[in-house]
Symmetry: C2
Subunit: 198 residues, 2 copies
């Protein structure tokens, strides 16, 4: 892809184990490799959603200080949270928790925030995006079917918009679909071009 | 999928050659087969966008009158149009047309309408959906790159939201992402359950 050739001389590292983020980076044609370093996702009380995702993507980025000694290394980390009625919803811990989360989200609107840190040397470029998601009323049968047949446990809010529940249960969104999947890749693409190609 | 077992006794026919619509029906877990019958897409002057997509999905459905003699046959046809500044934009006829369409859509908002006809016997259930799509400013290089490397010729407005341009060029949408792809599959799912399973 000659358009993005200027990115090829860099070692762009996606610091995430999410297969959705990997697919989004591939879809945007960005050259990169994955190097996931799981960190404990803890944050201080009282932060706003934007501050939480910023805190967590910075925390994840800190694991890559070794790589960032290479001036051609660029590390991208991200964190996605779901906010419903003012409360932050994490990943479900078990089946009952996943069912309770989806029952709460059913028939209402929630917000998805993703914070992204793009790091090069000691420089950190931070960006975030916010989308609203409207779930129609889901039946108990639909919720149980989804939790039983899919893998909601690695996903904030216990669902993946790109899975069955996203096809049949979501009336619409406001904002970026890719942000709901876990990465506002249009913003990452623009930031990389500005940082590395201009 | 036991949840949708009640649909299995019907012969659900998707009357469309669009690979996106096929993927959306599969994603929703609806059992179906494809039987595409290309029709000429012409409509009277002076119709509103909602009337145009209704007219065209009905026109497409008429090709299946033979199949509809079978009381277990259910035919689904659909038509998608792009509306920009009050004008309906069709599929591009050549490269220059595709470039001109994307140049017009760049940096602005357009609307995508999809009309769907679900036919059984002499009964026609009609539904539609509308989404707004916000393109950021696309560079000439990005537009030419897309037109050269992808296949915009079978798509209203000369783009596919699920392709590269959708990853890097769209800031956000209002409404259903799947509707922009060509089928508001959540509404088709609900209509089929109501028509055939209740």
């Amino acid at each position: 892809m000659e358009l993005l050739d200027c990115l090829k001389k860099y070692d762009i590292i996606l610091g995430s184990q999410s297969p959705r983020r990997k697919a989004l980076m591939e879809g945007a044609g960005i050259p990169f490799r994955v190097e996931a370093r799981p960190t404990e996702e803890v944050f201080p009380e009282g932060l706003s959603p934007v501050e939480v995702v910023k805190h967590l993507c910075r925390q994840k980025a800190r694991e890559f200080s070794g790589e960032l000694k290479n001036p051609l290394a660029v590390v991208i980390t991200a964190d996605t949270i779901v906010v419903h009625r003012g409360r932050i919803i994490n990943k479900p811990v078990d089946e009952a928790d996943a069912i309770a989360m989806l029952t709460a989200l059913s028939g209402s609107t929630h917000e998805v925030y993703t914070g992204v840190c793009i790091c090069r040397g000691s420089e950190v470029h931070y960006l975030y995006d916010r989308s609203a998601v409207h779930f129609r009323h889901l039946t108990e049968e639909e919720i149980c079917h989804y939790v039983e047949h899919y893998a909601p446990y690695d996903k904030a809010g216990a669902y993946g918009i790109q899975e069955w529940i996203g096809y049949v249960g979501i009336n619409g969104i406001e904002g970026s679909y890719h942000n709901v999947m876990g990465l506002p890749v249009h913003k990452v693409y623009e930031a990389l071009l500005e940082m590395l190609c201009s």
